[in-house]
Amino acid sequence: MIREYKTIEEIAGPLMLVKKVDGVKYDELGEIELPNGEVRRCRVLEINGSNVLVQLFENAAGINLATSKVRFLGHGVQLPVSRDMLGRVFSGMGEPIDGGPKILPEATPDVNGTPMNPAARRYPSEFIQTGISTIDGLNTLVRGQKLPIFSGSGLPHANLAAQITRQAKVRTGGVTDDSKFAVVFAAVGITFEEADFFISDLKKTGAMDRTVLFINLASDPAIERITAPRMALTAAEYLAYTCDMHVLVIITDITNYAEALREVSAARKEVPGRRGYPGYLYTDLATMYERAGRKMGSEGSITMIPILTMPEDDKTHPIPDLTGYITEGQIILSREMYRKGYLPPVDVLPSLSRLKDKGIGAGKTREDHADTMNQLFFSYARGKDAKELMVVLGEAALTPVERLYAKFSDAFEKQYINQGFYEDRTIEETLDLGWSLLRILPRSEMKRIKPQLLDK
């Protein structure tokens, strides 16, 4: 039996204190009924004796201490899931907002999920071809990886994410394997225009009917942002592990998520960690990011591309910093490249894919992949150093070899990095382009490539 309480004692920000409550569980979902019949949702954050502290998912306007009623539903926040979710649009709380009917659930899992047993994980090793040279050639994405995009305000991260969604394919033995692919997209506190860009891009390419969208716009309640990504991941887990699909999850923007978390933490007067973010930000982010992967006993996989905007383009800000410690690499966008007009403006040197080594090489991409990749990185770094020196001292101060490196780095930026948002390169094209650029340099500088490969 569900009991109703009219004992609300305090409301402050997103928090509410209810007294004389009995039998409620930690993390349980609750409903608040306003005098006008409107129902809002909340979640138990702390139980202390008969006092219960709850977190509201929507704003507190109109809640009245005397007349509002609270009831607890006996379960945590859940999401009804089914295969029919594909092609549908939901709110950050998992309610359909596209005017369509409610989902007839095949299951209703708790949105927090349970941690995956590390002994049950399968190591991600299947190469995903995104058609983008800087990713395929240098920071290879594999199935089951979590690879965030670190962006800044005003940089075209949305275009890059859309390009990956459009072009991503898995090729086994040169044949494109397009089986059972799905996209789950979570918009967390982004503007209408940004969300609209994604939706119309998905519609244009016909990908909409294999996509599930969870939308929390900038104008929607901030606290809903805490649940939106978990809703998306719960849907993704169902599609991946029950329906054996390969799911690409895009979450944008994690910065908004972390700020919502900070809001709740501040309202609870918790001891803050760095920059006012709660001390458990790392653990909290990890419980989302670690839901990516592949596991034994299931064909499906979850590949995750979270997008975040670095405040002041500062990579050491807690949000990108902690994200980088959890995810398996990062793609960093650079304002400098964007100003030069090179698209996608990937900052190659600090970008990294940790899982690339197991996803490339003979049988996956090509045997020369690893060596040329290392050589390109090294040569580009040397070229950039040479150019820096050139700015200070003039071209005459460089040795002939350094001049070649400088030339290489210019050509590399212009041809390799700058490919635009609509060119789809195969991995072979990317590797061949790498070779043709390396020809600028003398053979004796190719220290990172095995001689047998150079002879070819």
């Binding site: 930690y26 708790d110 002994a119 001390g279 653990t283 670690e290 410690y325 020196l389």
Partner: protein
């Protein structure tokens, strides 16, 4: 048995009433799901409990039952090659029983109760034994001979002891002690928060050879020593840690994945069984124990995982082995401390970390050491501890890095700018240090080469000189340098690229034995000396730097360990030939061009 009722729940912290009789640090079962927790504070009747599992769905009034015993690990055959969570639950077994996600409230014994082990008794009935004496052994894996020792605090006379096949709980013999008879089993228990005793701690005297050139040559660690690897994300901490776990010349490695990525452990699980240990010829997994509490697993168990790992390591040390504990990452452990401290509403120290952060960290690292083990045969064992640190933003002025640096003796500082240019291992050769260098000098000169120390100092000197010259080049250009200084730059570059840089993913380069390390460094320095002499005779530095033999030197590190002697001798001949040729042609041109 004490039983109380829950009054407060806040994340992993639960407060229960009616717990007056419970002991501090007792393990308790919480609520109807029987979650495992540990008492960390008692105020009168109320006990604060940190719960090692997710607390969602727990309500007020549910029961809390104390087990009356502190958090302990089970020590006995079956530990090696296993993978455990932070409180020593076997993850493989849990997957078989409960599926691929971790379910709450399950209790699976740490050691397999069914499996029979072949025990060989080595002590006769009637002999006197003291704590820690070896009673016999079980060959746990092809590499590890698991010695069964008299439990600590239980010396006496052996009344009976039989060889045979036993499970870990079967009685293998009987010991008569002052307090009566005691049954002996293959398994014993030990509380994780208490260091296992030893007779005497000694200063470390032998290096832990890692096969990583920059580590062994410039910043060696001793067996029984402590080291830390701080670095921003993407600088290759985990690869460094994996390399140490793979190649260190210790008998057993305990690898603690503490609040890190799940896939990293999957990588270890997939890779280690495939790699052959160069010393034993057996698979590396057969000398490895994994403790894994990934970042998405409950935070309180992450706090415990470090202690679980080091207690297991101490137990193997007590058998007289050299053991390495590798923890990745201690920052996540400190964050777990911080989270619990925040929930307990303690007064915070720096950046919200509790004031006892430093003392807890030093307690952990002080459990390392080169010791005379407990037992009457005075066998020696060592325990080395290596911790990764993940400083926010890569800035090591933060509390965890600073507290760690005050304790550990070796600092391998990882540098993001090296990582960006894919110089791995990205250990910065200017800021890193090892305080064991002097102590290990003797071992190196006896076991590797009597010039080892001189050569290693010469490398440090060149790298130092390079950084100073670089400053000048940045201001006035390379032309302002004398030919000798330009040569220094060339040789230093060769040291960086052809020696310090090491590819962990290449079969031949991943591990370099000591003799080959010495020979390779010798080759590079030999080129430098020879070239310096040539420059004195008027040879142009530009010509020297373009010599084809330099490419050969660059590829020398990839020569496999069984071929390096001939290959390096050949390169040395080639260095002589090419530089001599330059000198001769130079002398010729001098005459033509007075």
């Amino acid at each position: 048995m004490t039983e109380g009722k829950i009054v407060k729940i806040s994340g992993p912290l639960v407060i229960a009433e009616g717990m007056r009789d419970a002991n501090m640090f007792d393990v308790v079962h919480v609520g109807k799901h029987q979650l495992i927790g540990e008492i960390i504070e008692i105020h009168g009747d109320r006990a604060s409990i940190q719960v090692y599992e997710e607390t969602a769905g727990i309500g007020r009034g549910e029961r809390v039952v104390s087990t009356g015993a502190p958090l302990s690990v089970e020590l006995g055959p079956g530990i090696v090659t296993n993978i455990y969570d932070g409180i020593q639950r076997p993850l493989e077994k849990m997957r078989e029983l409960y599926g691929s996600n971790i379910t709450r409230g399950v209790s699976v014994p740490s050691l397999d109760r069914e499996k029979k082990w072949k025990f060989h008794a080595q002590v006769k009935a009637g002999s006197q034994v003291t704590s820690g004496d070896v009673l016999g052994y079980v060959d746990e894996t092809e590499v590890i001979r698991h010695k069964i020792m008299v439990p600590i605090g239980g010396g006496g006379t052996v009344r009976e002891l039989f060889s045979g096949e036993y499970t870990v709980t079967d009685q293998i013999g009987i010991l008569e002690t002052e307090n009566g008879e005691r049954s002996l089993t293959l398994m014993q228990k030990w509380p994780v928060r208490r260091a296992r005793p030893y007779l005497e701690k000694l200063p470390p005297r032998e290096p832990m050879v890692t096969g990583q050139r920059i580590v062994d040559t410039l910043f060696p660690i001793a067996k029984g020593g402590t080291a830390c690897v701080p670095g921003p994300f993407g600088s290759g901490k985990t690869v460094v840690q994996h390399q140490l776990a793979k190649w260190s010349n210790v008998d057993l490695v305990v690898y603690i994945g503490c609040g890190e990525r799940g896939n990293e452990m999957t990588d270890v699980l997939g890779e280690f069984p495939e790699i052959t240990d160069p010393r034993s010829g057996e698979s590396l997994m057969k000398r490895t124990v994994l403790i894994e509490n990934t970042s998405d697993m409950p935070v309180a168990a992450r706090e415990a995982s470090i202690y679980t790992g080091i207690t297991i390591a101490e137990y193997f040390r007590d058998m007289g082995y050299s053991v390495a504990v590798i923890a990745d990452s201690t920052s996540r452990w400190a964050e777990a401390l911080r989270e619990m401290s925040g929930r307990l509403e303690e007064m915070p120290g720096d950046e919200g970390y509790p004031a006892y952060l430093t003392s807890r960290l030093s307690q952990f690292y002080e459990r390392a050491g080169d010791v005379v083990c407990i037992g009457s045969d005075r066998r020696r064992g060592s325990l080395s501890a290596i911790g990764a640190v993940s400083p926010p933003g890569g800035d090591i002025s933060e509390p965890v890095s600073q507290a760690t640096l005050r304790i550990v003796k070796v600092f391998w500082g990882l540098d993001a700018s090296l990582a960006y240019r894919r110089h791995f291992p990205a250990i910065n050769w200017l800021s890193s240090y090892s305080l064991y260098k002097d102590r290990l000098e003797e071992w190196f000169s006896e076991n590797v080469h009597h010039h080892w120390t001189a050569q290693s100092s010469e490398i440090s000197r060149l790298l130092q000189a390079e950084s100073e010259l670089d400053e000048i080049v940045k201001l006035v250009g390379i032309d302002a340098l004398s030919p000798q200084d330009r040569l220094t730059l060339e040789v230093a570059q060769s040291i960086r690229e052809d020696y310090l840089q090491q590819n962990a993913f290449s079969d031949t380069d991943s591990y370099t034995p000591m003799q080959q390390q010495y020979a390779l460094a010798f080759l590079i320095l030999y080129f430098g000396e020879k070239a310096a002499a040539a420059i004195d005779k008027g040879v142009d530095i530009q010509k020297i730097s373009e010599l084809p033999v330099r490419e050969q030197i660059g590829r020398a590190k990839a020569v496999s360990a069984d071929q390096f002697k001939e290959a390096y001798a050949q390169i040395q001949v080639e260095i002589d030939r090419q530089i001599d040729a330059l000198v001769q042609s130079g002398e010729g041109s001098d005459e033509n061009d007075p």
